[in-house]
């Protein structure tokens, strides 16, 4: 069994205790989307503003939940702020690729894992790599990213 130190890395606990970009943004102009993890009751609310030149001009995170869901959302907010939508998409895909697991060892036939985007650096997000060793927590780590993707769709749809 992997040790808890693989999961609860210091930088993760730091984001949990001192979440970045915590709060709300005015809607409109911001898009607001709630994400839920029905298994454990985690809730992440993502507010996002997309500027005319296609950048995440501002992002805020609200909600409540376990250390992994909240710290992952916090780290995500720090990673995407100021990035273009294309950069965020690549970052999202690379992060999801890190979170993919093969179930073949217990007889499963999982979907093809997502491929990381070449050249994309995850930076601090790498600290969440240990989560894959705890499969029940992967949904906690990806909740914020899935919610952000929905919020971006909403934000760009509103502008169209």
């Amino acid at each position: 069994m992997p040790g808890l130190e693989d999961l609860y890395r210091e930088i993760i606990l730091d984001h949990y205790r001192s979440p970045r970009n915590r709060g709300e943004l005015a809607t409109p102009p911001a898009a607001r989307v709630e994400g839920f993890n029905p298994l454990c009751g985690d809730e992440v609310v993502v507010y996002v503003n997309v500027s005319d030149d296609g950048k995440i001009s501002d992002v805020a995170i609200d909600g409540q939940g376990c250390s992994i869901s909240q710290s992952s959302a916090s780290m995500m907010s720090a990673a995407v702020k100021g990035k273009t939508l294309a950069e965020v998409r690549d970052l999202n895909q690379t992060f999801k690729a890190m979170m993919s697991i093969h179930e073949t060892n217990i007889g499963g036939t999982a979907d093809e894992p997502m491929e990381p985007v070449e050249g994309v650096k995850l930076g601090d997000l790498e600290a969440l790599r240990g989560v894959v060793k705890f499969p029940t927590r992967i949904k906690c780590a990806t909740l914020g990213w899935n919610t952000l993707a929905e919020a971006i769709v909403e934000a760009t749809a509103e502008e169209a």
Partner: protein, 409 residues
């Protein structure tokens, strides 16, 4: 007194050791472990008399049928049912409650009617009624809970006034609360309503007598009472079951089928379309034999003692850091302890406990309206059964220290 050491030895899974830590299984409210006799009964069926039931003219089919029907008689005796024909085999407690909603509910509830639920209910005793309410247009009224997690019955007569049905859990899967079912049945009947009881958390832990409780429908599942998954029971009064339309259509549930139509079989078969879960039914029968051998009075007494020990130990060891929901008096509750622990999220608590082999559930426990009433989004839940002892509680209390040192803010 139960000999817990001997009981633990009856359960193969409880012999497992992971990374040097024996399994401390504290999630029986979710699903219990299974004793060897249950596993053996199912294997023996497959190895010696595997054949379809109620169909074949040959010896092993007859034996399979008789073993399955013997299990039905065991179920009836175990819950005090006047007739085994009133015991319908279903997949689980959820299906039992859906069956009542789809048959009795559909033929008895009309637009403008009211039914009564409680804030304690599991989603299985909420959502089927909400789905039906969307179709039919009746109103759902709610019995609230008090601060210590008991039903607030101060407005009971007003809530039941004009209602057609009261659906209530006999034991909360989150708080361990044991509502006064007989009192509720009398009040419902006085108001002209029927009472539907979700007994999934009750039957595994207390002696059950549906006649003494004077209820109309009683649903429970096998896998929380030492039986396998995939088998549950709906008990109902004969006159109600006979008046109800069938549930699923197909083989077994018919007497005659022509191109023009069909007539339904007698109860219980009227509600048992298709090949049933034969091995699981036989497994449930073996689980009932196992529990009956120990005695449900003894099981209940053991759990009251252990709950008292757990409440005392957790409070002594963790003081104000731990908040345990539900009634504080062990004699009026089950061994289900939902708690919050400081600022540590329940999912993180469960993760740290898992590292010590301690299995608890974290989340909303399929009771979101109750979680809202309690003002929390999630709790950790340790639930105890006949194979747990003081040492399991001590291991839980020790492992909580780890959670605190890791997450102390």
């Amino acid at each position: 007194m139960l000999d817990v050491a001997a009981i633990k030895a009856d359960f193969p899974l409880l012999q497992q050791v992971y990374e040097g830590n024996p399994i401390v299984y504290l999630d029986s409210a979710s699903s219990s472990q299974k004793p060897r006799v249950v596993l053996d009964a199912m294997t023996e069926y497959y190895e010696t008399i595997n054949a379809n039931v109620h169909r074949g003219a040959y010896r092993i089919s007859d034996l399979a049928t008789r073993h399955m029907e013997a299990a039905r008689s065991k179920v009836a005796r175990f819950i005090g049912a006047p007739s085994s024909n009133e015991c319908i085999f279903v997949r689980n407690g959820t299906e039992a409650l859906n069956l009542v909603a789809h048959t009795w509910g559909k033929s008895n509830l009309k637009s403008g009617d009211s039914i009564v639920l409680t804030e304690l209910e599991h989603h299985a005793n909420i959502v089927p009624w909400q789905m039906l309410a969307q179709d039919i247009g009746f109103t759902i009224r709610w019995i609230p809970i008090t601060d210590d997690g008991q039903l607030d019955l101060s407005e009971l007569d007003r809530l039941l006034d004009g209602a057609k049905m009261l659906a209530v859990s006999a034991m909360s899967n989150v708080l361990g609360t044991i509502p006064p079912i007989r009192l509720l049945a009398d009040a419902a009947h006085a108001a002209g309503a029927i009472i539907v009881v979700d007994g999934s958390q009750y039957v595994p832990h207390l002696p059950t007598d549906v006649v003494a409780l004077d209820v109309d429908f009683f649903a429970f599942t096998g896998h929380k009472m030492c039986g396998p998954t995939g088998i549950g029971v709906l008990w109902g009064r004969t006159e109600l079951l006979e008046a109800m339309p069938p549930f699923l259509g197909g083989g077994s549930m018919i007497l005659k089928v022509t191109k023009e139509g069909f007539t339904t079989n007698e109860i219980p078969h009227k509600f048992e379309a298709g090949t049933p879960a034969i091995a699981e039914t036989i497994g449930l029968g073996a689980a009932i034999d196992y529990l009956s051998g120990l005695g449900m009075e003894a099981v209940r007494a053991h759990e009251v003692r252990l709950t008292a020990y757990a409440l005392r130990t957790l409070h002594e060891r963790h003081g104000d850091k731990i908040h345990i929901f539900g009634p504080s008096e062990p004699a009026i509750r089950g061994g289900v302890l939902s708690f919050t622990f400081g600022d540590v999220h329940p999912h993180d608590v469960a993760q740290v406990l898992d590292q010590k082999g301690v299995c608890v559930r974290a989340g909303h426990h399929c009771a979101k309206p109750l979680m809202s009433a309690l003002g929390v989004n999630a709790t950790s839940r340790a639930s105890m059964y006949l194979y747990n002892n003081e040492s399991d509680v001590d291991t839980l209390a020790d492992a909580l220290d780890d959670a605190y040192s890791m997450f102390a803010l």
